[in-house]
């Protein structure tokens, strides 16, 4: 069986500094992987490179998504294929209404896949259904994209998009940053409701705390641009006790 996501020997530079030094990661359908590691270990770089953010240079290795070379695709093509990055800091876009944004994005993805675009009534129906399921208040949808949203609201908007676009791979980049415990629980509940057999998730986090709410199947520890240890969910608890120091020594 082809893995959903296969990262092989990935080396990445930013302005001639190598951030990832040969990273391997395999994610199959339906699996939830957590990637943990100290600041500067390259976790966010990995998420950006998978999503196609400009400014990163891949010097070696490859990323396959459903067997296809992801690195040759534009960010929008990756989205249409089913890759979704939930941003650590979702941007505010003044002047772009949330509903306009959601409809334009959803229809762009559908068009790229050769599917029919949603009509306005069908689209409204779908958004209402999805936002009701996630208990997202309608007035959030009436504002500009993320404009004036709290940290928690921004993350819920990411979860809403995840539910609407139905990607097969979700990468959650430091979803817990900037959230208090209540906001974290609400966002995590949303993510959990989207777990399914056909959908894999990669949860990137600095703290074990998030993994109390989103329980992973696999945990990987990153340090200095490599995965230095992989294991089951217990590995996260172990880290919580002993910290990252042991791995940093190992990587060095």
């Amino acid at each position: 069986m082809t893995a959903l996501l296969e990262v092989k020997g990935l080396k990445v530079q930013v302005e001639e500094n190598e951030i990832l030094h040969g990273l391997d990661l395999t994610v199959n359908e339906g699996e939830v992987h957590a990637i943990m590691g100290p600041n500067g270990s390259g976790k966010s770089t990995l998420s950006h490179v998978i999503a196609g953010k400009p400014g990163y240079e891949v010097t070696a290795g490859e990323i396959l998504f459903k067997g296809e070379n992801l690195l040759e695709m534009e960010p929008n093509e990756r989205a249409a294929k089913g890759v979704f990055l939930a941003f650590q800091y979702p941007v505010e876009i003044p002047g772009v209404a949330t509903m306009t944004f959601l409809r334009t994005a959803l229809n762009a993805q559908r068009k790229a896949r050769g599917e029919g675009e949603y009509s306005t009534p069908d689209f409204l129906k779908k958004v209402r259904e999805v936002s009701a399921r996630l208990s997202i208040p309608q007035d959030m949808l009436k504002r500009g994209v993320n404009v004036g949203f709290s940290g928690g609201e921004k993350k819920r908007n990411e979860v809403l998009q995840m539910a609407l676009f139905e990607p097969s791979l979700c990468i959650l980049d430091e979803m817990d940053s900037g959230l208090d415990i209540d906001a974290l629980r609400i966002a995590a509940d949303g993510v959990n409701s989207l777990r399914s057999k056909g959908r894999a998730m990669v949860v990137i986090t600095h703290y074990q705390r998030l993994l109390n709410y989103i329980i992973p199947d696999f945990v990987h520890v990153m340090s200095k641009g490599r995965v230095v240890k992989s294991g089951g969910k217990d590995l996260a608890l172990e880290l919580e006790k002993s910290g990252y120091a042991q791995f940093e020594d190992k990587a060095a």
Partner: protein, 439 residues
């Protein structure tokens, strides 16, 4: 005097001499035209050493004023009629000027709303009883070579009066259409809006099919009485190789609100200079504008807001989106006279550069002579935000679509101020059309 200047004076004299048959008015009117033309001839086209025209050097951009267009024949009127239809703005009372001539058969002259009266500048000037009406061509508020040129050569225009207390259901709509190539249309319109009125005034500039490299020289003088509510929308969509030089002069009474919006989308070279004077206390001005320019087009919006009395508010919001080698100019000057205490005047201008070769000049100026005022200005210039673009692309939007969404949002802030739904939609559609031509 050097030889080049002497030659150009001869050429300019020819411009006036050849125009004479087209210029209505005798006696004091003719005398005023001669004096105005002499003033223009003495100054010549404004150039970069004239402070107000520093960024719009008409000697380089325009080179010369094209001769007046002939009065339109039947074929020209048919083409003009098609152009008016093609504007796609319905539900307005239209007053159509073709190549600088008012055309009743293309205008809504019979169905004028109650309280609206229309006269035609040419008729008024040609009527011997009105020979002393040289004041119609006078503008005391502003003076420069282009205004003098306009006074000298204005062939026609509309004079619209709206009686006190009238609320119009349909916008008044002055439409300028060019059918002739390599010629000038020179027009002056005068609009008097009474006290306690509610009026929307629209101005459109468009080309008939086939009209090329022509010049529109327009001026409009608008008086607004006390307690009025006026919307003004100007949509400039002249041919992309044409020139448009327009002066607008607004005088506001007390407790009056004027909301103006100016869209500059057409013309190879354009200058819109607006002069707004507060003559009565407690009035509010909102003036917004958008320049959407590509190719090698040059668009200049210059506004002067004169707070001559206390307690008035002015807000200027201006946006420019520029592609290719386009050049946008925004000059905003706010004058607060010594008596004009409690003035609240602010302007904000932002430009979006979509190519490395696009250029923008922003010149905000505050001249404050009163001490109890709140005034401010801001200006930003930049490219599209890379983080916003990536966010949209990561959600599936192709690059051009992501850019279009952000550009629409950027100019939307200024367009949103248009109160009339149809006109706002028209402005949005124009912006979208411009975006579509970016490919």
């Amino acid at each position: 005097m050097n030889i080049a200047l002497a030659t150009s004076n001869t050429a300019q004299d020819e411009l006036f001499t050849s125009a004479k048959g087209r210029l209505p008015g005798v006696g004091p009117v003719a005398t005023m035209r001669r004096a105005a033309f002499d003033d223009f001839a003495r100054r010549g086209l404004p150039h970069r050493r004239i402070e107000e025209w520093k960024y719009t050097d008409l000697r380089a951009l325009l080179r010369e004023v094209a001769p007046l267009a002939p009065a339109p024949d039947q074929a020209a009127l048919a083409r003009a009629g098609a152009a008016v239809k093609a504007l796609g703005i319905n539900g307005t009372q239209k007053f159509v000027l073709v190549d600088g001539t008012f055309v009743p058969q293309l205008s809504d002259v019979s169905g004028l709303e109650k309280g609206v009266s229309l006269r035609v500048l040419r008729d008024v000037l040609e009527n011997k009883d009105n020979a002393v009406r040289a004041d119609l061509l006078q503008t005391s508020v502003a003076s420069d070579a282009m205004i003098s040129l306009n006074t000298a050569l204005a062939t026609d225009g509309v004079m619209i009066d709206v009686a006190d207390g009238v609320s119009l259901t349909k916008p008044l709509h002055i439409v300028h259409v060019a059918t002739s190539s390599d010629t000038s249309a020179v027009t002056r319109s005068l609009v008097k809006i009474g006290k306690g009125t509610n009026v929307t005034l629209v101005e459109s500039f468009a080309a008939a099919e086939g009209a090329k490299t022509y010049q529109s020289h327009d001026s409009i003088v608008v008086w607004i009485g006390d307690n009025a509510e006026v919307q003004h929308v100007r949509l400039m969509e002249d041919a992309l190789d044409a020139a448009n030089i327009t002066t607008a002069i607004f005088t506001l009474g007390a407790k009056t609100r004027l909301n103006t919006f100016c869209l500059t989308h057409g013309a190879r070279v354009s200058r819109y200079q607006g002069f707004v004077t507060f003559k009565g206390e407690g009035s509010e001005l909102t003036t917004n504008g958008v320049n959407l320019l590509g190719g090698q087009r040059h668009g200049d919006t210059t506004l002067l807001v004169d707070h001559a009395v206390p307690g008035c508010t002015s807000r200027e919001t201006f946006r420019a989106a520029l592609d290719a080698r386009a050049h946008s100019v925004f000059q905003g000057r706010i004058i607060v006279r010594p008596d004009a205490q409690q003035t609240d005047g602010k302007m904000m201008t932002r430009a979006l550069l979509l190519s490395d070769e696009a250029e923008v000049d922003n010149k905000p100026e505050l001249e404050i002579f009163a001490d109890d005022v709140s005034c401010g200005h801001g200006a930003t210039t930049g490219a599209l935000d890379e983080d916003l673009l990536f966010y949209l692309r990561a959600r599936g939007l192709p690059e051009k679509e992501a850019q279009a969404l952000l550009i629409t949002a950027f100019v939307g802030e200024a367009i949103e101020s248009i109160v009339n739904d149809d006109l706002r939609e028209f402005a949005v559609a124009t912006a979208e059309r411009w975006l579509a031509t970016r490919g």
